[in-house]
């Protein structure tokens, strides 16, 4: 090594580092499993954005490379080597005119296509179905207004996974219950902010059945990075099945089962925040939850059909085990619907995750759920608190929650 001069070895070290970083960046672009790739459109709206990208990126790339190369050439070629200062001239009209007109033309072309795409993406005349999407720290709620022509006779409410029929122009009506969030399913469309007190419209359309991942893209506090969501596209028949299942009346677990005991625990511990539609107390009176009195945003996920969703807590955790998860995610488009509609069966349940959540939710997902630090929110939680349940209670609850599908 002593033959290498220190200067040379430093240069070499720097160049290897640069090459390494550049290589890593390039390779990162080739990830095989990148569900949030913006350049793999799976619906009309994402396709529009992609088509625009295909036009703008090469232009921007060529301009970028040309300008950098030219600048680099000038830096090197005309650097101060002690030569005399050359004769100075005042501008060259032809160069100035060209350098004004060419960028103006490029920008005009890019501008025309960009504006057209923006307008097309804002179009709402072709809407076939509307869904209300409400963001809160740190999960999304979806409610479907009754739309008889889409087979939705009563409103549906769910969370985390947005279920839509394939090849249907769905219009999301976004808003927020606390701070600004932003809804983004890269394979289906661009982002749109969800702002408290306002309704923002976002088109969604998926060409084929499948599961499309996304995440909140407006920093919204502690668990922003854990505020994920999935859009599930089902064939029209499968969607009808999903709707029918969401709307079917509640059936209480049979007397004497573990699940029945779990229902009791649920009523005592959970029903003040979580609504289960149709659940009744011992006197046969409907139980209406009061998340507005317990949670800062005023809402907690509706658990009526919890086990039809295969992720939970802002799509952060799998409700199903690895094998069943792979089954659904990797399913071919034709088989996807049936696999998704199977929901969370006893064999598939990811008990570890669910139990950990019930045992101590804030330990799984950072939330403002310390009972001693709630002055700022008037005693309201942001997130789900640790309820100090016994393992016994958790057994019963898991048995009960498994019936909610």
């Amino acid at each position: 090594m002593d033959t290498v001069s220190p200067v040379k070895s430093l240069t070499r070290r720097i160049s290897t580092t640069v090459a390494g970083v550049a290589g890593a960046v390039v390779l990162a672009g080739c990830a095989q499993n990148a569900p949030q790739d913006t350049w793999k459109p799976k619906g009309d709206n994402a396709q529009m954005i992609y088509s625009l990208d295909k036009l703008v990126f090469p232009i921007a790339g060529i301009v970028g490379v040309l300008v950098s190369a030219l600048a680099g050439y000038i830096f090197v070629k005309f650097r101060d080597k002690g030569q005399a200062i050359p004769a100075q001239s005042h501008g060259k009209p032809i160069v100035e005119i060209v350098l004004t007109i060419v960028p103006a033309l490029i920008l005009t072309v890019v501008g025309v296509f960009t504006f057209r795409t923006i307008m097309d993406l804002a179009e709402t005349q072709d809407t076939e179905m509307i869904i209300n999407v409400t963001g809160q720290q740190w999960w999304w709620e979806y409610d479907y207004p009754a739309q008889a022509d889409q087979g939705i006779t009563q409103p549906i409410i769910t969370s985390g996974q947005l279920v839509i029929p394939e090849d249907t122009n769905v219009l999301l009506r976004e808003t927020s219950r606390d701070v600004i969030h932003s809804f983004w399913i890269p394979a289906l469309n661009g982002k749109k902010d969800a702002v408290p007190g306002r309704i923002h419209l976002l088109r969604m359309q998926a060409d084929q059945p499948g599961i499309y991942a996304g995440q909140c893209t407006e920093f919204c506090g502690l668990s922003h990075a854990n505020m994920r969501m999935e859009a599930i596209a089902l064939s029209k028949e499968d969607f009808a099945k999903w709707v029918a299942n969401q709307q079917k009346p509640y059936t209480a677990p049979a007397e004497g089962t573990l699940a029945k005991e779990g229902e009791g625990v649920f009523i005592n511990q959970c029903a003040r925040c979580h609504q289960v539609n149709g659940i009744k107390d011992a006197n046969g009176k409907a139980i209406i939850s009061a998340p507005d009195e317990n949670v800062y945003s005023g809402a907690a996920p509706n658990l009526t059909t919890l086990m039809t969703r295969n992720t939970f807590a802002g799509a952060m955790f799998d409700m199903v085990n690895q094998k069943c998860r792979a089954d659904v995610w990797d399913a071919k488009s034709e088989d996807f619907g049936a696999k998704y509609l199977a929901g969370v069966t006893e064999d598939c349940l990811n008990e570890k995750n669910l139990r950990a959540w019930l045992r101590n939710a804030p330990a799984m997902k950072p939330m403002y759920a310390d009972p001693a630090k709630l002055e700022k929110t008037n005693g309201l939680y942001r997130g789900m608190p640790n309820l100090g349940l016994t393992e016994d209670d958790i057994d019963k609850l898991v048995a009960y929650l498994l019936t909610l599908k």
Binding site: N132, T175, Q275, A299
Partner: protein
């Protein structure tokens, strides 16, 4: 070595120390007076020390002393500004925040200007050069600062005038003033000969008119309806009278209320005496609208008929206070004329009961729209 410049402060130091000790023995060693006198002692000693250290005022000969004093310093008003700032800041601490902030600004501004002045004055033997570097150092900040203050005063006085005159008069004043500014600017630009004296005259006259009018209108107070709005809120819940007839308070000046039309979830129309609804984003009539639970949600009401109507939201029943008496809960818009819009914002914390959903109605018109809260 005791320098001439330090003598006064040495004396003050002695006085401070003696009076502080006496105060402690005779009055009270632990109250504010003792702190003040010890403070005097310490600060005088500090200055005396500096003075000795820098040989202040110490000259070897009369000639040298005369030489040092030939260049008289220019009179400066910054020390006064600085002192004023100090007084305002203290006054502000005792009275209110705005005075305090203002005082602080004056204090800092005065200090900076004073320091720069002082530095520039001693920068060289050449007064002209000194004033040049003074301007170069701070001149760039003087003008925007002065301009901001002047603009602030102008805007304040002008706003007083606008709050006093009626709405129609305000538009006329606006038109005349802007036309005058435009014409004057145009004349000054086109005829350079007019600049100079006439500009000064115009500015002075304009300033006088503005000042007199501004102060007079400020004394006269704001125009009637503004005073009324400030006194009582005609849109307050307690004033809502949701019947068919015009309410005594609530239906005054309906169009003064702000429309929230950009963030609505549904639009309710009255057309031909009938009520109908459209969900935003869905261009067809619906019988029920769905709104998210516990979130403030805005509904737009648009009256297409010539008769005046209002939109009423019937939000079930609730117990009155802690009693068991049930009372209807609801809210409504003001009476709305033909082709006019009003926004109604509701927050519903509980899901609706499928048997008895919440409703939207329009007294005097037929039909009702269900409001479903899942």
């Amino acid at each position: 070595m005791i320098t001439p410049g330090s003598k006064y402060f040495l004396g003050l130091t002695g006085l401070g120390l003696v009076s502080a000790v006496l105060y402690c023995f005779l009055v009270n060693p632990s109250d504010l007076g003792a702190y003040a006198l010890f403070g005097l002692f310490i600060s005088a000693a500090l200055i005396a020390g500096f003075s000795i250290f820098t040989s202040d005022g110490d000259t070897d000969s009369v000639a040298e002393a005369v030489e040092a004093n030939t260049e008289t310093t220019a009179p400066s008003f910054w020390p006064i500004v600085f002192a004023l700032g100090g007084a305002l800041t203290l006054l502000g601490i005792a009275t209110n925040e705005i005075v305090f902030v203002l005082g602080l600004a004056v204090l800092v501004g005065g200090a900076v200007e004073w320091v720069i002045d002082d530095w520039a004055e001693k920068a060289s033997a050449d007064t002209e050069f000194n004033s040049f570097i003074r301007h170069r150092a701070i001149g760039a900040l003087d003008y925007p600062g002065i301009a901001a203050v002047v603009l602030g005063v102008v805007a304040f006085l002008f706003s007083r005038i606008m709050l006093t005159v009626s709405k129609d008069e305000a538009s006329i004043i606006f038109i005349i003033v802007s036309a005058l500014i435009f014409v004057t600017g145009f004349l000054l630009a086109a005829k350079p000969a007019l600049r100079g004296k006439s500009t000064a005259i115009i500015s002075v006259v304009g300033a006088l008119v503005l000042a007199v009018a501004g102060v007079t209108s400020a004394l006269n107070g704001e125009r009637k309806e503004l005073v009324k709005y400030a006194k009582e809120d005609p849109y307050s819940i307690s004033h809502r009278e949701c019947g068919k007839e015009a309410g005594e308070h609530y239906d005054h000046e309906a169009n003064g209320s702000v429309s929230l039309r950009s963030g609505v979830i549904a639009t309710i129309f009255v057309e031909g005496g009938k009520i109908r609804a459209q969900e935003v984003g869905l261009k067809r009539d619906v019988q029920a609208i769905t709104i998210p639970r516990s979130n403030s949600t805005t509904i737009l009401f648009r009256n297409l008929d010539s008769e005046e109507y209002r939109l009423v939201a019937n939000l079930g029943e609730a117990k009155v206070g802690t009693t068991d008496v049930m009372e209807k809960v609801g809210t409504c818009t003001q009476l709305t004329g033909k082709n006019e819009e009003q926004a109604l914002t509701v927050t519903i914390p509980k899901p609706s009961n499928p048997e008895a959903p919440y409703t939207l109605t329009v007294p005097g018109a037929t039909g009702e729209i269900k409001v479903v809260v899942p």
